[in-house]
């Protein structure tokens, strides 16, 4: 499921970026030095370092004036190529969409989802391919027609031409997105019937951390019932097994009408049929504040399966005091949130012999809704980000290959980055293979059984070193391809009626795009620097 609210670890991402970036740069440097020495002798080493200095020199002397004039040129070029025809396609799509989508789903909230889904898909499927074509085509065409000769013989750094192009396409794409996004927003608002307008909001969830205890109350990982949903762990009913959710930074502002809103989607696993009439398994929430030594439980609740359970709990709860003599009123936000602002909620299954399964994302606090525009605009931003990434990749790739090849390459990267990132990760993590490529060859040639261990000695050592190298190199190649899946998360949030989470979706998207800025600049800088601008 791409809808995954796991918060993003910025520090971890940075470390990861530095590893990948650093090792790529290191390999590139070694290769350059080797080539330099082979072609120019000792002077080659000096040339390589001068080349590196040149990058820093030019990057620090960029001129906004020139970049700006190159980007307006780019925009003008696209406009005069009648790029705005996409609006006609867009308009036609929308004229027919209303008919097809009306009555596509039987529940109003699903109907809303299908409208939002359509608008976001239509926009991204129109904008991203067109921008991809433009950005891959433009520079090679400039080189083919040699119009670039007239520009590079002016006091213009070649990298400024690249940046100008990137900026120009970004501005153009942003303008197109803005217009389409606005039209889409108005369209959705018109399509959604008056009666369900109230559903057109951006829900704002707060997710917590989850821990489990076993039937004796000791920390555990929860039970695995061998279901396909491996990500859920189960707690046994009528024992001390608990799922413990901890929500951070909770205060009054998270209440809706003085009520704490909890939304859950637990899954039941039955060891016996039980009482089916009540519609689900009984469970209970227990609010725990260790600082005050408070444990407050709710009345038994029924877990309706395959539906979202929305539970509104008044912030004032009547609660029997420790000695059980009197009833005291506790306030969820004043009394049950601990000194660090954490709200701890334990989930207990009440029926013996039944199990209740849950994962981190199965319980969240719903805080006051944001306006629909809040989530919607972030979803549009979620189209903008991959668009910018596509522009950067497209322009960079078009620095060293011809237009059609650049288009194919960029498209491949986008598709691979979108679909098979996880699959590749699996191969490379070593789960799917027994031995390295060289070892396999060695066994094949020497007719060695794959079970027999390799004889010790220099041969084994060499094979292992080379295999390690290959695996690491493949790993690096895989890391270099951007994870486009990250961006579709944002759309997913909004389609499901949520506001887009900063931690789990916006930040990783922004960071992913930002991570490609420097590498793209480096690659395009050197491909243009080392290249004679003749059409080949």
């Amino acid at each position: 499921m791409s809808f995954d609210p796991i918060p993003y670890d910025l520090f971890d991402a940075l470390k990861h970026f530095l590893t990948v970036f650093g090792s790529t740069m290191f390999i590139a440097l070694i290769v350059c030095l080797l080539v330099g020495v082979l072609t120019r002798g000792v002077k080659g080493i000096g040339d390589v370092f001068l080349g590196i200095l040149d990058f820093f020199n030019q990057i620090t002397h960029l001129s906004c004036r020139r970049i700006w004039s190159l980007s307006t040129l780019t925009i003008r070029e696209s406009l005069r190529q009648k790029i705005l025809f996409v609006f006609i396609i867009f308009a036609v799509l929308f004229m027919f969409a209303g008919w097809f989508l009306a009555g596509a789903a039987d529940r109003p909230d699903l109907q809303i989802q299908s409208y939002i889904d359509f608008v976001l898909k239509a926009i991204s499927w129109l904008v991203i391919p067109i921008i991809l074509l433009l950005s891959c085509w433009s520079l090679p065409e400039d080189i083919r027609l040699r119009t670039i000769h007239t520009v590079v013989t002016k006091p213009v750094y070649r990298i400024e031409i690249v940046i100008g192009r990137m900026l120009g396409f970004t501005l153009l794409g942003s303008a197109i997105l803005l217009v389409m996004g606005t039209v889409g927003y108005i369209w959705i608002n018109r399509q959604v019937p008056e009666s369900v307008q109230a559903n057109l909001v951006s829900k704002v969830p707060i997710y917590g951390e989850i821990k489990f205890t076993d039937r004796e109350g000791a920390p555990s990982a929860g039970l695995n019932v061998g279901d396909i949903w491996m990500h859920r762990s189960y707690i046994e009913g009528a024992t001390k097994a608990r799922a413990i959710f901890t929500f951070k930074d909770i205060d009054e502002s998270d209440a809706i009408n003085d009520e704490l809103n909890l939304q859950s989607s637990f899954e039941a696993f039955r060891t016996h049929k039980g009482n089916m009439e009540k519609g689900g398994i009984l469970y209970q929430f227990i609010f725990v504040n260790k600082d005050k030594g408070l444990r407050v439980d709710t009345a038994p609740l029924i877990n309706k399966e395959y539906l979202e359970n929305r539970l509104k709990i008044n912030r004032k709860i009547m609660h029997e005091s420790e000695d059980g003599k009197e009833k005291v009123e506790v306030d969820i936000f004043d009394d049950l949130v601990d000194d660090n602002g954490n709200l701890t909620i334990e989930v207990q299954c009440l029926e013996a012999g039944q199990l209740l399964g849950m994962a981190r994302s199965d319980l969240y606090i719903r805080t006051p809704d944001h306006a629909f525009i809040s989530g919607y605009s972030k979803a549009i931003f979620g189209i903008w980000l991959p668009m910018v990434l596509v522009i950067m990749l497209g322009v960079t790739i078009s620095c060293f290959v011809k237009g059609p090849v650049a288009i194919l390459t960029t498209m491949t990267i986008v598709l691979v980055g979108f679909m098979s990132k996880e699959y590749m990760a699996e191969i490379l993590s070593g789960k799917m293979q027994a031995s390295g490529a060289i070892e396999a060859w060695y066994r094949l040639i020497t007719h060695m059984n794959s079970q027999t261990p390799l004889p010790d000695g220099p041969v084994k050592f060499m094979i292992q070193i080379v295999d390690m190298g290959i695996i690491n190199f493949l790993w690096l190649c895989q890391q270099i391809i951007p994870n486009f899946g990250i961006f579709s998360n944002m759309r997913e949030y909004v389609i499901k009626g949520f506001d887009v989470s900063w931690d789990a979706a916006l930040l990783p998207g922004i960071v992913t795009v930002a991570a490609y800025i420097l590498p793209c600049l480096i690659v395009s800088f050197y491909s243009l620097k080392l290249r004679e601008l003749e059409a080949k």
Binding site: E77, Q81, T147, H149, T150, V152, T153, P155, E532
Partner: protein, 301 residues
Amino acid sequence: MDNESVIQISNLTKIYRDFWGRKKVRALNSLSLEVKKGEIFGLLGPNGSGKTTTLKLLLGLLFPSEGEIKVLGQPASNVEKNEHIGYLPEESYLYRFLNAEETLDFYGRLFKMSAEERRERSAELIEKVGLGHAKKRQLKEYSKGMTRRIGLAQALINNPDLVLLDEPTSGLDPLGTDDMKRMILELKAQGKTVLMCSHLLADVQDVCDRIAILYGGELKVMGRVEDLLKEQDETQILTSRLSDEAIKEIEQVVAKHNGKVGTIDHPTATLESLFLKTVQESKERPGQRFVPDTQEKKAAE
């Protein structure tokens, strides 16, 4: 400082290679030359002799296989030197979706020119190259000669000290050629340096101080135009029309001085001068026909 050298090329060799690095063509072979400040230097040679290659090397569009290049005292790969250089490519490689004004404004913005300066300079240049009537039309509608003209204007937008012209007169009508030559001489008068290449010898002869002739990528001849042409040991006398007796007398006089008379004839006007005259007069008196068609004359009779 008259003797300051603006372009210095030593032992320049350029080998074009294909994608795999295999040698294809040796376009320049060990070329050395120097262009001094304030000079108009002509690079001559037949098609494919390496003229354009030399210019592109000077501009850093191509990288030399061997040898050294200094332009305005800087290596060719240096970008800052372009601040003072104007370049007219072999074919005018301009953005066809811009009109003349936008073109000049765009290139102007690549230099440190204010909006005011750009407007003035481009208006002035558009007038100068004679495109005032077409300045709002996109370049894709331009004829070859018009493109050439806007190409020249583009090369001069920054008021460069060094102008590199690759076949400046190609595609121009005789009037344009004449304008071009005048402009080149004007540049010289302003103390600018011009390096032009061409295979139209007449053009070169009229404007260049010094020339070099390339053949197959090698330098064959270099020197001052007058020096190179002086060896023709002849004298030409142009007079008003003379009678046959007078011509006989002249032949005797020539013989007395140990000379030998070559050809004596009554020259017709050259086509070039006729063309120039017609165009000039059309400009002064529009809507009039000057040389009646001979066919029409007969029909009238």
